[in-house]
Amino acid sequence: MAGLTLSNVTKTFGDFDAVKDVSIDVRDGEFLAVLGPSGCGKTTLLRLVAGFERVSAGQIRIGGETVSDAGGSVPPEKRRVGIVFQNYALWPHMTVAENVGYSLKVAKVDKAEARRKVDEALALVDLTGLADRRPANLSGGQRQRVALARCLVAAPSLVLFDEPLANLDVHLRASMEDEFAAFHKRTGTTIVYITHDQSEAMALADRIAVMDHGRLAQLATPRELYSEPANEMVASFIAQGIVLPAEVLSAEEGGKARVEVMGQQVTVRCRPGDGPRANASICVRTPDLEIAGEGEPGIEGTVTRAVYKGGALRIDFAPAADPDRVISFEHPGHTGFEEGARLRLRIVSGWLIPGNGPEDGQHA
């Protein structure tokens, strides 16, 4: 087991930065999820850690030892890093036991010893009895577990997962999620887990690194990501947060500040030390919104769409002041709002996105 440190890692393909200036410090035994939309550089990041790609700049250390920097790269076979691939990558010409025992065979571990370790690893992923099957005769979930056992058996210092659940159906996904969590608890292995599915990341990870266009957008605990996004990208990406332009009226006091949003004054949470500025933005989520009653202050607007989502209505709301900025939120109940209905929306609270307003949140 070991920690993993990325310092200012950049990977350039041609003149395209797939990973740009990323610094992450993964603690020993930590479960880190890397989350981001497709194409944001997650797989590239993982392949850099595994040693299949060389860094263009920056440095990667595993357990305190430098494995990649501009000067050179420790080859993958010497890194003691386990990988679970999205397509499992089981070798079709080997049995389950041979797949799992491969790294032991390569390391010329004594046969009996190897057999014992393989059995142990198979027991750990609940596959005892399937040792002599071929991968082709296994279900998707079983293949996933074989892949897990295969990387476990070598006692890697670090296990990397590349969207391991993307190929499974919804039910299996939930149960594998539980298994991964149990596996992490049992083994205490350092894990870097790549996914584009935020609920997966939220459920599993100690911390989440959100990536955007090759950059690290925010590295924080799931709770913090949700309630205190560091920039507009994270705010809108996580749980479909609503980002609204705002002007900060007062300096921070007790973690709160006054802002004006679309003509309405609201007290929102903020970072210590934040102060009055124009062109700020806030992040609000469904629980922060209320339908204003008669005579109460609120944002005037029209319902442009109301879709029943089972237990709640998803409402698209166009503020009169800025009709192009559609606010989508959920409202419990299933009646009362038709398309075209006029409505006043009250923002009860929110989070003041730190920084100097929208310019900072924008990426090239």
Partner: protein
């Protein structure tokens, strides 16, 4: 039934029937005729043909020789082809597409030309060895006139075949399978040994079977290298028997040709059995693995590869060229002695040679044009048709090409020895029997790319035309043909190149007046006029090269893998 329904059914029916007729005529009939000759010569069932054939010691010697050169050539082809495929596909060697082009080239050169070229390179009269002062004394034996010589050239000729199949397999190997092994602690050689090669066995076995069939059916190489040493394999034995005995020995020849067919089939069946035992289909699609970095070995490996190319391609062709410029046997070549007389002689003076150029061009063009025209509708039925039986049709079109050419040639002889019933038309001893054999044998070369062309076209394009009211024939003409034309034409060009210097079939079917380039080349070489043979070879090789380059212009419109030499 309403009239429009009838019309559309009618057109489809007409197409299906036409395709069926072509297939029966070109592939089923000859095979059946051949089998009849073996089991029921003269009309009644008997085993005399088989017994007579098996009793002859020449049969046994030739069979053993066929197996020896077949296995030897296959092993060499598999080793060479696989090695080059691994090197070119998995490492960061530079100049990859040029390398592929150069390595695949021998496949596009007729076997007898390969044989001639190598003979000219190593023989005592070799202008090249003379130039570098290493020629053995005149009258000494050419080392290539031997079993080893035949095996060597078969390996060189069919290594590219193995290369193409293994390379295609390697390209489908998902990189994760390699990367999983590497993070499991395996270095590159361990990965190669434990992951890559085992996963490539289906490709390698399939390639080996194909190489084996090609080796046992090859005529040109054992004809040029074996006959002078009196080392006969089955195809050359058949040739000698027919050349000596004429139609009288046709029954015996039929038995021998079926024997080759059986050996070739055994190779194919062996592959089936092996690949059923180890069926590991790789289903996931992914990027190919990152090339292995050769590091400080890169330059030496590249130099080694190019030396290899020089050895198997450049030097032999250079030898061929030099011989074609020599004024007479054994005369050293220099600026003063070099002459184009040989070219003038074969192109303008020698009547049979002159005729052969005309014949081969006409035959190749006719075979190519016919195949393109037939491949479009047949491919339509195979790729998009609703009938299950069409798959078997596809198989039966493969047969005349998959089986050694000798088999088809003998079948054609049997069919057309007598005038065609009811019509009285005589094909035997005319150029038409060769045309028939070419049509049957090479159709598949146009069909394969056409079918893969169909698979790449969105069927909705045709359906849109259908919705717009176009009948089947209109759709075929206005929509389908233009779309698959590049693939079909590329197939036609492959046929043209293959047929132009074809020897195996025409050696058995030619007659005075219907000589082909291959036949005349062969008889020049047998008569000791290597320079004339070399001049003819040089001409056909140049035509092939020019066509290959010209075909590259079609490449952007073609499905992948249609042009074997293009990477």
């Amino acid at each position: 039934m309403s009239a429009p329904v009838k019309e559309s059914r009618g057109q489809e029916m007409a197409l299906t029937v036409a395709v069926a007729v072509v297939i029966v005529l070109l592939s089923l009939l000859p095979m059946l005729r051949l089998i009849k000759e073996i089991v029921a010569p003269g009309g009644t069932i008997s085993d005399t043909a088989i017994r007579l054939g098996l009793a002859s010691p020449a049969t046994w010697t030739a069979t053993v020789n066929t197996l020896v050169v077949g296995f030897g050539g296959t092993v060499l082809a598999v080793v060479l082809g696989t090695f080059v495929a691994l090197l070119v596909t998995l490492t960061d060697i530079r100049g990859r597409s040029t390398l592929v082009l150069a390595y695949v080239m021998p496949l596009m050169i007729a076997p007898q030309v390969t044989a001639l070229a190598w003979l000219q390179l190593f023989g005592p009269a070799s202008p090249f060895l003379k130039m570098i002062g290493m020629a053995p004394p005149l009258g000494s034996r050419n080392p290539l006139y031997s079993t080893e010589g035949i095996i060597l050239l078969l390996g060189v000729q069919y290594g590219p075949l193995v290369f193409l199949l293994v390379r295609a397999g390697l390209r489908k190997l998902p990189r994760e399978l390699i990367e999983a092994a590497r993070s499991g602690g395996a270095g590159w050689f361990t990965v190669l040994r434990t992951i890559v090669l085992p996963l490539m066995t289906p490709s390698i076995v399939a390639a080996a079977a194909l190489a084996f069939v090609s080796c046992v059916g090859n005529f040109g190489i054992p004809a040029f290298l074996g006959i002078p040493a009196n080392y006969l394999v089955l195809p050359t034995l058949i040739y000698q028997k027919l050349a000596g005995g004429g139609p009288a020995v046709l029954g015996e020849a039929a038995f021998l040709s079926v024997l080759i067919g059986v050996i070739a089939m055994a190779g194919i069946l062996g592959q089936e059995v092996m690949s059923r035992r180890r069926d590991y289909r790789i289903s996931s699609t992914s990027l190919p693995a990152d090339p292995y970095e050769l590091g400080k070995w890169r330059l030496p490996v590249e130099i080694g590869m190019w030396l290899f190319i020089v050895l198997i391609l450049v030097l032999p062709l250079f030898g061929l060229l030099l011989t074609s410029l020599v004024p007479g046997y054994g005369i050293p070549l220099g600026w003063a002695t070099a002459t184009l007389d040989n070219y003038r002689f074969v192109l303008f003076e020698h009547a049979a040679a002159r005729r052969s150029f005309f014949n081969s061009f006409a035959l190749s063009i006719a075979a190519a044009a016919f195949a393109v025209l037939v491949a479009v509708p047949v491919g339509y039925l195979v790729a998009w048709g609703r009938h299950k039986w069409i798959r078997y049709v596809n198989l039966s079109i493969e047969l005349p090409y998959a089986l050694p050419g000798v088999v088809l040639a003998i079948a054609a002889l049997l069919m057309f020895l007598r005038p065609i019933p009811f019509t009285g038309i005589q094909l035997y001893n005319t150029v038409w029997i060769i045309l028939y054999a070419y049509l049957a044998r090479f159709l598949v070369l146009a069909l394969r790319p056409t079918v893969s062309g169909y698979h790449q076209i969105d069927r909705a394009l045709e359906e849109a035309a259908q919705v717009a009211g176009a009948g089947l024939f209109t759709r075929l003409r206005t929509i389908v043909f233009p779309l698959v034309a590049p693939a079909a034409l590329a197939g036609g060009l492959l046929i043209f190149m293959t047929a132009l210097s074809e020897l195996t079939v025409s050696a058995l079917l030619w007659s005075s007046g219907s000589e082909t380039i291959g036949v005349v080349m062969f008889s020049f070489e047998q008569g000791g006029d290597s320079s004339y043979a070399a001049a003819m070879s040089a001409i056909t090789v140049s035509i092939t090269f020019v066509l290959m380059l010209a075909t590259n212009l079609l490449a952007p419109y073609l499905p992948n893998g249609v042009l074997p030499w293009r990477d």
